[in-house]
Structure formats: C-alpha cells, structure tokens
Symmetry: C2
Subunit: 295 residues, 2 copies
C-alpha cells in the first residue's frame, strides 16, 4: 500500500503539471473565468481516474506523454462534473475537499462557465496530434469519452440521481444509477489505455470487468463513509443521502451486508486482472485501496 501511495503522489504531480500546461490563462476582463478553472481543477483531489489511465496505459506500453494528456482530459471532465453537481440547483454543496465549492468561491455564473470550459477543453486536448500520432485512436478516445460522459452516461446518471429523491428504488436501480454517475468515467479511464495500446478483446474484457467492480466498490465505500465519518474527516458534508431522502447501498443493504459486498467486489476486481502479469500490480493495489480508503 505504501508503494501505491508513493505512486499515486508522483502520478498526481505529473498530471497536475500537464493540466497546468493545458489550462487557459489571461488578464482580460474575463480573468475570473481562468481563475475559477484553475481553482476548481487544481484544488487537490486523489487523481484516481488519471492514475487508472496511467496504469492501464502501462499495461500496453503506451507512451507516458500520451497517457498524461488523456489523464488530464479525464480529470477535466471529472472536475467539470463536480463543479456543476455542487451548484445550488443540484446537490447544493458549499464544501468540496475542505475548500469552498467553485460557485461559493466565485459565483454561480462563473462556476457554470468554468465547468463548460473544462468540458470543452477536454475534447480539444484529445483531438490534438500531441495526444496520439494516430488520428483514428484520437477519434476513438473522443467518441468513448463523450459516450461515458453524456446523456447515456455520467450526465444521465446525475439526472437519475436528482430524480431519485424520495423515490423507493430497488438495489438494481441504485446500481444502475451509480454505474452511470460514477462508474462510466472510471470505466473509460481503464479503457483508455486499452484503446491507445490497441489491446486484444480478451484484455479489454478483463479491464472492463475490473473497472465495473472497482466503480461499484468505490460508491459503496462512499456510502459507508457518508454514515461513519465526520465532516472534518471527509472535507464535505456527511449523512447527505439520508437528509436528501435518497436511498443508497448502505440504507438498503445495511452496513454489514454493504461491507461484505464491498470486499467481494474488491476481490473480484483483482481476479479480473489475472490475464495481466506484474505490470498490473498497482491496479491490484488500487482495488484494495478503494475497499479500505477512509476518505
């Protein structure tokens, strides 16, 4: 696990350097927009999705430069989604990672436009010849990211989540919502290395299985932390789902069964990686980390 933490930290450094080099800047009357973009995406975060891009790229010997640019693109999408989800008309959150959310730090209009900018920039970066020399692969990366992030993916999941308030949902329905809301982008992160590395079908399937399991595990762990942690420990509000009248994995399964399901998914995720050799060791560590993380 120490190995993973050191690797996460060094990847975070590299990713942040790449992101910084890609962000817009300027001193015109619109400079608040650039500041808000910088503030939102560079105010830390685990950089889990970028790490998955980098590690899945390593499985197929994809160049580090390509991996870092795709990793940055995915973090832009993740960051935009957090900015918009935090807005008053959505989840109405004032804190994120212990800091003011973007609309609280600036204002709503600036936050909406900062999100729009990051979403747009993400596709600009992917389409650039610097990201990958093969334009077919660049188009594949863009097409798959758009599917994962759009109305049939992440945004659709957020809409479902908003509509889920005060509705009695089955465990199947909640699984579907979470697979779209958070799972789709995690799956894309794992898939991006396979796209760039022109992986074989068998390898792609294995990574898909892995991504599915860690995606769900991530959410179950989130739901557990929501009821067992404090606002100070998490850097954001706790007991949110209960207050919003939302069902989640823990409220339906109970803490004990949710924990068991979490461990089962973690082990199953690692099993999916059997087709890969030691190169996948850090991805195995990620699965363990997701099961055990305390924030």
């Amino acid at each position: 696990m120490n190995d993973l933490k050191a690797n996460l930290r060094s990847a975070q450094k590299e990713v942040d350097k790449t992101i910084k080099s890609l962000l817009p800047f300027g001193k015109g009357i619109e400079k608040k927009l650039f500041e808000a973009i910088n503030y939102s995406i560079l105010s830390s975060g685990k950089r889990l999705r970028p790490f998955l891009v980098i590690q899945s790229s390593k499985l197929f010997d994809v160049s580090e430069k390509s991996a870092l640019r795709v990793a940055s693109s995915i973090e832009m999408i993740h960051s935009y989604s957090l900015i918009h989800d935090d807005l008053p008309s959505m989840d109405n959150d004032d804190l994120r990672r212990g800091l003011l959310t973007t609309h609280k730090k600036y204002n709503e209009a600036t936050a909406i436009l900062a999100g729009d900018s990051l979403l747009t920039l993400s596709f600009q970066v992917l389409s650039d010849t610097l990201t990958h020399s093969d334009p077919r692969i660049r188009c594949d990366l863009i097409n798959e990211l758009a599917k994962a992030a759009g109305a049939y993916g992440m945004v659709g999941g957020q809409m479902m989540d908003l509509e889920a308030e005060n509705k009695k949902l089955s465990i199947g329905a909640i699984t579907r919502i979470q697979m779209l809301k958070t799972g789709a982008l995690i799956a894309y992160a794992c898939n991006s290395g396979a796209i760039m590395g022109r992986a074989e079908k068998k390898e792609k399937f294995s990574l898909q299985g892995y991504a599915h399991d860690i995606g769900l595990a991530y959410q179950i762990r989130d739901d557990l932390l929501d009821v067992t942690s404090t606002e100070k420990e998490l850097g954001k509000k706790v007991n949110k789902d209960k207050k919003a009248g939302k069902k989640n994995f823990v409220s339906i399964l109970g803490k004990e069964r949710a924990k068991k399901q979490l461990e089962f998914l973690g082990n199953q995720a690692i099993k999916h990686l059997e087709v890969f050799d030691d190169k996948a060791n850090l991805l195995r560590e990620v699965a363990r980390f997701i099961v055990e993380r305390d924030r």
Copy 2:
C-alpha cells in the same frame, strides 16, 4: 431573397431530421433530461449556423451527409450555449423565440444537464466515422470547434459579457467581446466546409473575412433590434442591454452610425466572396439577410 428563404427552410428541415436522429431518448427515471434536450434544440430557430456549414460545404463539393452532421453538431453547441446563457445566474431570461426557456419549462438542474449533454453529444457526433471518412479531418473539426466554443472563444466571450455590466467599454472592447461570444461559432460554421473540403489557404482566408464581417453585422443588427422592436416581434425581451447597464454597438455609436457600419460590413462580406463563383450566391444572400432581418 425569396430564394434564400426557401433554401433556409429546406435546410432547416434536413438539419432537424438529422438532429432528431442523433438525440438521446428513453423512458427511464431520467426521461425529463431527454425531453428538455429535445425541447431546447427543436423549438425552432433560424438554423443560421447550420446553413453556413451547408453552404460553405457546397463550395468544396463536400458530401451532404457530412455537412448535415457537422451542421447538427454546431446547432447542438449553439443550443447548449443558449440554455446556459438564459439561466437565472446569467442573463436570466424567461422567453426564447416566444417560448419558455428551458429552465422555466423544466427546472434549473435539468437545464444545466441538458446543456452539458448537448455540448458532449456534439463532440461525439463529430468523432464518429459517419461524419467523415478521414479521421484527420474529424480531429480537425473537433479541435477547431473546441477552440471556437471554449474559454478562448464563445464561453470566454460570455464571461466578458457578464463582466461588462456597468463598465465603460470602448468600441474595440465591445467588438472583441462579440467576436468571441457570437462570432467564433459563426466563423467555425464557415470554416467547417473548408476543413472538410481541404480548401486552399486563399479560399480559407476569404471565408474567414466573410465570417468576421457577418458575425459583427449580426450583432449590430441584434443591438438595433433590441432598441427598435417589441417583445412580441422578437419573441424575447427587448431593451435588455440598457436595463442591464451594458454598452453595445448602438448605445456607443448611435442608431444612424450603427446602421451605416452594418451596411458597410454586409457589403464587405460579399466582397470577400469574390474568389468563389456562383456557388457562393446563397452565402451572398445570407450577408444581405443579416443586414436586413427583422428578428
């Protein structure tokens, strides 16, 4: 002009058919999202940008299918920008083309997500092999659109426009804001045909000059209509800039000088098309239409 109107109408039909075939649909708990997307983009509009894509494509014998898909993508971006700009935290508009704006018809969260979906879908469509057989051209289309729509383009222009309230701006500053806020996407529409048709530099420059002039002319006409029309005629609020304490072309130049500048730009736009033969006749008509339009 009758020729233009008939051509605009038939292009609108074709574009709307293509857009409909590309929009997400479904009956799940998130169905309000799909409804809002449909409502926003299909509630009419002049389809000026799509028409520019189609006509610039005709100059270089680009296939109709490619032109229609790019035309649809650009209308998705335009539509998303209107949805977000209309929000209470931005321009706070209740009416658009005589209909309720998306957040008034649904709610703010749904409007934000509908805009996010359309923005994302636009890049998904462009990256698809059905749009153009050459992946290099698809990447160019995506890269240029992202630049035109992002923080250094349309979104940056919107941020400038919001910041411009109660500021004393020069005519140069206002020109810059409008060139980004509305001009960048119009320029992209004209440029997209040249990208797909692998136009020569000279032809690209001519189209850029044309796009620059009609983009500015369009905004001056908008500013004139804002002070000379009624809410009923325009289908949206009038005298908006004055109420918001915003300077525009008319408030700085006065009505008469603004009208002269408008006509000058229209004529200059047509001059830029001299390198093209009769194939550019409808683009010439568009320039005249923009100068004379009454809504």
